[in-house]
Amino acid sequence: MKIMVCLKQVPHQDARLDIDSAGTWIQESNIKFEINTYDTYALEEALRAKDEGECEVVVVSIGPDRTTQALRTALGMGADRAVHIKDEEADGSDALGLAKLLAAVAKEESPDTIFTGFMSDDDNFAAVPPMLAELVGLPHTTAAVKVVRGDSSLTVDRETEGGSYEVVELPLPCLVSVQTGINQVRYASLKGIMAAKKKPLDVKSVADLGLSGSVGAGAAKVKIEKIAPPPKGDTAELLEGSTDEVVAGLVTKIKELGLL
């Protein structure tokens, strides 16, 4: 059995978000990056299948040089192989462009299951997984919080709203996008990190995947024109001063509300 996991490396959740000079994204120099939270759960779900039996886990990511770090971390956690799509021609791709690149890899790999995160912490699109499923021709579901593996299908609880779940059965091969909290994600052990150094990490270009001209900024159908802090609406009245002063203000307010 083979499982493919798609990972994205995103700015660290606590990174400073300064807008770049073009005004279309954040400044990415001098900030820390990490594997997208949702994707760590997807990887863990694959590694659990591997722990249970014969299974190869292949991690795939699109990104510049720094992305190697994310892939090495994934290999350190237990993935077997990595594919790094690294090419300036892919820069400025929209979600569909990214899905095309991943689909080309998926077609080469023919995995039994593809796990992805539900969305990415940076652009919050949640678009690539269903797009990838469509391009590869696989059935899919999103926001999985439980996956039960059968011989020829997966039974998935997908989270809907307000504490409700939908149970769906998908024939293999299929794609599942995973919600956070589905499992508890492991850390890479020191031994794992050492072993990762010897694991294969293939680098592919857009041309290698036969997609020259069909991905990247030139092929994008949607484009970010501008990025800006949300306009300040009716923001909260702010209490300022020393901790004592602030606390006194809070107590006064809670009393005013008749709750103290």
Partner: protein, 323 residues
């Protein structure tokens, strides 16, 4: 020129509020972009609902009425939307950013080789193109996105637009859909077993977020304030995901929706999925060290500070005030 297609959703036997919000977006874009509004209503035995939607902003409604659409199924829904896009010659297709929208909309865009913009809170037509606004970085920044050319599929954030009010001329017509390609199988829907705290009954909720940093800090810092105020403790999702607290503490779109007299959010940034769970609280106090945290947009009173300074001091002061 194409049309605008609204994909309506049925929930608990009625058209969802979010679908009337889509109708209102579509009707205003119809005016500015010179397009006609068409809609899809799908389900089983839903003729009357389709009729109703056509009179309330849905325009020319295509009705996909089939037993295969009785329970939500991603493939069946996708087949119906594909058929509707073709029948309507739509070049802007609007869905809600709801669990079915998550599944169907991007898949549809890839199938149509169309552009996709997810979770928009505003859509305009100017300069001859559709322009979209959406939040990125979990609500911390806004992105202005434009559609360069061709067909566009967009999802709209529920609650971001007032629903369509009033009546319109409308019509309904049957849409035939082939369901040969359906592979996903609906098994059942279930509710999470709601053992534990029912936060909806609490007058005061003190919630901690990822900023609380460690599981033991909930017992040491957050719970004591909740106790001092005679309230309950809540949490944001990452706290529950990390296993720091059980799911029944979670406030938000995938947790509990609460409306206490006082909601105190400490170390919570204010992502939309958290806000929908608590923004109707009577009074909101936010404590966060980041002055730009979106939580301050919904809070009545804010403190920009380290929660580990403010919360224990507040607990002490509240205990003192009670004498």
């Amino acid at each position: 020129m194409g049309s605008i297609l609204v994909v309506a959703e049925i929930q608990n036997g009625a058209i969802r509020e979010a679908s009337y919000e889509l109708a209102s977006v579509a009707q205003s874009l119809a005016g500015t972009s010179g397009r006609e509004v068409k809609s899809l209503v799908m389900g089983s035995g839903i003729g009357a609902l389709a009729e109703e939607f056509s009179k309330k902003g849905g325009g020319s409604v295509l009705v996909a009425d089939d037993a295969a659409l009785e329970n939500y199924n991603v493939d069946a829904a996708n087949a119906a939307v594909r058929a509707a896009v073709e029948a309507a010659s739509a070049d802007l297709i609007l869905l809600s950013n709801t669990p079915s929208g998550w599944d169907v909309a991007p898949r549809l865009a890839a199938g149509l080789d169309a552009g996709f913009v997810g979770d928009c809170f505003r859509i305009d037509f100017d300069g001859g193109q559709f322009n979209f606004r959406r939040r990125v970085f979990n609500g911390k920044l806004d992105a202005h996105v434009s559609a360069i050319e061709g067909t566009i599929v967009a999802t709209v954030q529920p609650g971001a637009t007032p629903p369509f009010e009033g009546t319109t001329d409308g019509s309904t017509s049957d849409l035939s859909v082939g369901f040969e390609g359906v592979r996903a199988k609906f098994v059942e829907t279930k509710k999470s077993d709601s053992t534990g705290v029912d936060l909806s009954k609490a007058d005061i909720i003190v919630s901690g977020g990822r900023g609380v940093g460690a599981p033991e800090k909930f017992a040491e810092v957050i719970q004591p304030l909740a106790d001092a105020l005679g309230g309950a403790m809540g949490a944001s999702r990452p706290v529950v995901d990390a296993g720091w607290l059980p799911h029944h503490y979670q406030v938000g779109s995938s947790g509990q929706v609460v409306q206490p007299k006082l909601y105190i959010a400490a170390g919570i940034s204010g992502a939309i999925q958290h806000l929908v769970g608590m923004k109707s609280s009577n009074y909101i106090i936010a404590i966060n060290k980041d002055p730009d945290a979106p939580i301050f947009e919904v809070a009545n009173l804010g403190v920009v500070a380290d929660l580990f300074d403010v919360v224990p001091a507040l607990t002490e002061a509240v205990n003192g005030a009670k004498g």
